[in-house]
Symmetry: C2
Subunit: 339 residues, 2 copies
DNA sequence: CTGTTAGCGCTTTCAG
DNA sequence: CTGAAAGCGCTAACAG
């Protein structure tokens, strides 16, 4: 109840507040003897420095913000784990903000972060974000930003992603090699670079194998699950329905699964599905699920590492570095073993 | 770059700092006219109050800590989502701390939180936690605590959980009704009340159906996945191996799945598995997975609601309330539809 | 209705 | 090596 602060320690030791403060930060200008005395009393009373006082004084919070669309999504959870692990090593704190894929919420969160509450921001954009004024403003305030996964190409700063093009190319090619000729692409958002890059990989694979790109096989999904479901259902109900589906995100693959069940289409007999997905356990449990698994944890670690490196050097502006981590195409045979 | 603070606003408006401050907090003692002027300039300059200054002054941080063993776990992710949604409504910030199921880390995190960085702590205990001195200390410092899921029975405060006993009873009974007679229990930790309650439900169901409880069918799992795997493998390699498995947590069910595959045991032919699990999508994808699905999001919301109610009233000590939310037994037929 | 002032707990000159 | 004092940005008496 009674506060343990520098004043109290100082009084009890007959020292000045500044001496105690310096002793605790192991300053060279304090005698060993004094340091020992201070340290021991601090431990005894379990002194914990008030972080707000020192943040106010130093204009540094030792805190970063992680802004993600949602957290109940294996990719983001794992990435946050990665971020958290580096943060703990570096003695930083992690504030989590969820945008729920909503632009307005994202903007208001980012705007709030101009307050100085955090020293840097790691962000994965909402699928609705096209206007980036709020991010530019934040940067102008001197806050370093690192993008991960869902990056913004037009802002010069570090971006950590999966090799979206390459892995999409391989995934699509895999479907083609399995005999698919009419492959649909479930597109997450026209605003997000991941959606675009993944689509490019898909198109490139079709091109390589002389399959004509059919615009009508692309489903432009939105934020409404019901609507997405309906669109996928329409697609799979067509006379000339696709025999393969490449989903740019897990959520859309799940929708496709649902629809196949409703329409009594067998997987992978009638329709082969492949998707970006980090549901390791799910794919473990279902042999017919072939996934592109992103190195989510490492993406988090990498993004955080870049950020802390900048913060250590008091760098406000992070260089326009692009870090691309490889994803793995996890194909399973009918017994569920990886191949 | 240049800071927008009260001083700056005051100077530009020819008002005193305190007047500006009051105007911004919509104090009754400020004229509408002044308020308007202040507000409009604040908006124009995009003034964001320094949270550290006001926290220091008010001894309130408008921030809570959420301490969980891990985050790449659907239950915790969903619960954090729930917490986050209430926090955002109430204007609170959420700091996430991960213990990695490690007691030492948990203790050091909790100790750090005595600093006043947060106004309250929501926690789900690490499976290694048996000593609770750190939690008692925290409480003595005047910080309200709310437990969720993995609660500590011996501390008087609010606890939000699933009806562990009841749902375990039903799950076990379900296995018995499916014809299982030798049902194993995969036990998470002897320290955690959830493990114990779930075991009690299991035992009670056996008792009701006149099946003798066989201690040798209980696997006491630890923190090491390899070891757990080995123990489950030993269990399923026995001459008199179980024909049913009830896993108290998802991770152990996954281990059992792996082992069955290695030993070429069919599920649910040779062995029926049932588990606490929030991997909705996984169970969607695999028809043979029967789960007890906890209302994770609601547990998070509920826990946060209790916390904010206390904080609103400046209550340091939360009453020993127990909130129990129902879980649902999700049984699927061979087509994967819920029944 | 508005201004002056004291301080939250800490760091950091500047003096000794 | 140690102490005194100023001040980070904000709030809350207390005066007027």
């Amino acid at each position: 109840m009674d506060p343990v602060n520098l004043k109290k320690l100082a009084k009890q030791l007959n020292l000045s507040i500044s001496t105690v403060s310096r002793a605790l930060r192991d300053s060279y200008e304090i005698s060993q003897e004094t340091k020992d005395k201070v340290l021991s009393l601090a431990n005894e009373l379990n002194y914990q420095p008030n972080p707000y006082a020192s943040s106010l004084r130093k204009h540094k919070s030792k805190t970063i913000a992680v802004v993600v669309p949602e957290i109940a999504n294996n990719f983001f959870s794992l990435a946050i784990n990665g971020i958290g692990s580096v943060a703990q090593e570096k003695g930083y704190h992690v504030l989590i903000y969820l945008t729920h894929e909503d632009f307005t919420q994202e903007a208001s969160i980012i705007r709030h972060l101009q307050s100085g509450r955090v020293d840097g921001v790691l962000i994965s954009l909402s699928s609705e974000t096209s206007d980036i004024a709020h991010l530019l403003e934040l940067r102008q305030k001197g806050l370093p930003i690192v993008f991960f996964d869902r990056v913004c190409e037009s802002i010069e700063t570090a971006k950590v992603t999966t090799d979206d093009f390459e892995s999409s190319f391989k995934a699509t090619e895999h479907l083609i090699e399995q005999g698919c000729t009419r492959i649909a692409y479930l597109h997450i958002s026209k605003n997000l670079s991941i959606g675009i890059k993944r689509m490019q990989g898909y198109q490139e694979a079709l091109y390589k194998h002389n399959i004509k790109f059919d615009e009508s096989l692309v489903v432009h999904a939105g934020n409404d699950n019901e609507e997405n479901h309906a669109m996928v259902k329409a697609l799979l109900s067509r006379e000339d329905r696709p025999d393969g589906i490449f989903a740019s995100v897990e959520k859309l693959a799940i929708a496709a699964y649902h629809v196949c069940r409703e329409l009594s289409l067998s997987i992978p007999g009638d329709v082969k599905i492949i998707s970006f997905s980090n549901l390791e356990t799910a794919s473990l449990l279902n042999p017919s699920l072939t996934t592109i698994t992103q190195p989510a944890f490492d993406i988090g670690r990498e993004a955080a590492t870049v950020m802390f490196r900048a913060l250590d050097k008091n760098k406000i502006h992070i260089d326009n570095e692009r870090i691309v981590l490889g994803a793995s195409l996890v194909v399973r045979d009918s017994t569920g073993n990886n191949t």
